[in-house]
Symmetry: C2
Subunit: 389 residues, 2 copies
Amino acid sequence: MDSFSFQIPTQIHVGRGKIQDLRNVKLPGKKPVIVTSGTSIKKFGYLDTLRIILSELQIESVIFDSVVQNPTKRNVEEIVEVFRENQCDFLIGFGGGSSIDAAKAAAAMLTNEGDLWDYVQIGTGKRKAFVHDPIPLIAIPTTAGTGTEGNATAVITNEATGEKVGIGCCFPRISLVDPELTINISPKYTAFQGFDALFHCMEAFIAKKAIPISNPLALDGVKIIFNNLATAVNHGENMDARSNMAWGATLGGMVICLSSCTTAHNIEHSLSGIKPAVVHGAGLIIISSAFHRLGAKRIPEKYAALADAIGISMPNQTIQEKAHAFLDAFEQLKFDCGVGKLCLRDYGFLESDFDEIIEKSHVIAGGAFSRDLYEITDSDLRTMLLESF
Amino acid sequence: MDSFSFQIPTQIHVGRGKIQDLRNVKLPGKKPVIVTSGTSIKKFGYLDTLRIILSELQIESVIFDSVVQNPTKRNVEEIVEVFRENQCDFLIGFGGGSSIDAAKAAAAMLTNEGDLWDYVQIGTGKRKAFVHDPIPLIAIPTTAGTGTEGNATAVITNEATGEKVGIGCCFPRISLVDPELTINISPKYTAFQGFDALFHCMEAFIAKKAIPISNPLALDGVKIIFNNLATAVNHGENMDARSNMAWGATLGGMVICLSSCTTAHNIEHSLSGIKPAVVHGAGLIIISSAFHRLGAKRIPEKYAALADAIGISMPNQTIQEKAHAFLDAFEQLKFDCGVGKLCLRDYGFLESDFDEIIEKSHVIAGGAFSRDLYEITDSDLRTMLLESF
């Protein structure tokens, strides 16, 4: 057994109506900035719910509702300004991954000097380490996807350099994972977000950085999502499926922090970097079949374990047969969720874009792909893109 | 899915030589009290290793080496006194569960007013809640058993009232789980401690309080311990088995905090309360076969899942057949570890002691047994004791 280290300090509450747990937890301050993008959370009354709870607790709050879809460094700076102007003392990240990530980065920049990009570890980042603990943050996700409520990473875009990077900056102090807040998500976005969560669990399991604590959680996440995603997509009102997906997504967030994602995520960041219309989950789905077919060839034992985890393997099967059975089940899940035919052409990519996609994937990886258990060459990448075309 | 909440904030480092990670972690203070029982850790040079690391870090430390096997309230008070007299600012719990538990309770009493028993939630305890965060504690276990490095509980004995209770008081800030520190443990104690860890995982899985995060970790712990305990017992020099057992034990500590133990632990506390010569692990082993035979009758689906986890079940088996297969594998493990025949008579119990054992089990449980998924009557208990006689 190789050595490993881990920590997930967040207090996590999961279940229907858990937003109401705000009444029971020890709040880390007296006056929060609520960070949100302010679209669906207003439309569906979630923001009102939160404000009612806070006002009943006699907690005055300030709302910052201008987080954009891929939250920017400027967004983070604006939150810092609003926080200081209003003399707030904690943050509530409320919404999808964008809102919570912007709040995470602001939490760190409120206690650490300089510019956010001083603390970025790749590209034009200055590779400094945060010195001080962040301002306390409560995360309340309204999607079942990124799992950001279960880790310390914020994905932030630098408008000046065009970089979109993950910054390890702030574990939420408390995360309230309430599946009732996901009930109005459309089938399409339920699928996109749900597959993002599934890929977090699958990739954390096959990644080079997988460790003894991440493996059972990742496999359990894969099982939960396989058992519930199609129901959540096709019967969005099914609260049991929504609850399981909410927990599966949180598990996904936890396991990519205990282990890591793989090159599949690099390729997707490259795709959505080139065509911003590519939603993250959709980009991952597009590349997924080709990516995992290659994986099942190179590390079939890992995919056999995935087959075991979802309960489809038989004892008399070879490793290769089990790995294939998993790939088949995966294709079936994509089909059942209505995303079986998603491909690069749907977003207007041309074969002539492949060079740029490959180059950008390397830039995002900081050079060589190093998070996989097997070597992925540019030729492999080109094959994957062609198969995903 | 029912709602659930959890938190394990400890930074955990696992692997050979991890005691050396003291050099790399952010120490939570400048002057620790090292809390230990000072027997084997001196004999085998572990204390010297720790002191060398600290002196190279130019960290002055104070040693409290008088922790007794079942650490007492007086022990805790003594540690508090030594800490204050020497103006220390953090604690290192170094040894078996006793040392770390005494340090945990002292950590809480150094920042909270009054008497330790004010914070005990059963018996003569005053059922108060701790108000302040404890003094930071680094846990360095030298056994693979209690798993106290993975949870907040300290088991402390009150000499005045005869009570031995678990007190939720302090998560270690950092735990360094170094299997090299367990290499000199005798086969007998390796078995006793290893079965304690196994029971933590098994009981956390079958307990009423089991939650989605505890189940995969508990099942993985059961699998790891089934695969490694007999080797650790019979080939104590096998570092891979020792490493896996160290991690299995930490998992056990984590899962009883995420879920709970069951009545098996109450019965054991009753046994060792009546006959202090009964080592905790031995007492658990004695009662285990009868306890789990009853469990496999009442909740066979849980024992079938245990069979699945250790990879011995076949798809064509019924739930009951799988549950039985698990019981058989469990008996084999006991036999392989040389503890297959351990029984109440070995410790001088008489059938006439059964009434007292049953009564004390209830007192420890605070009345009715409430941690099991099924009702356990006094008649069940009497049958178990007879079968364990």
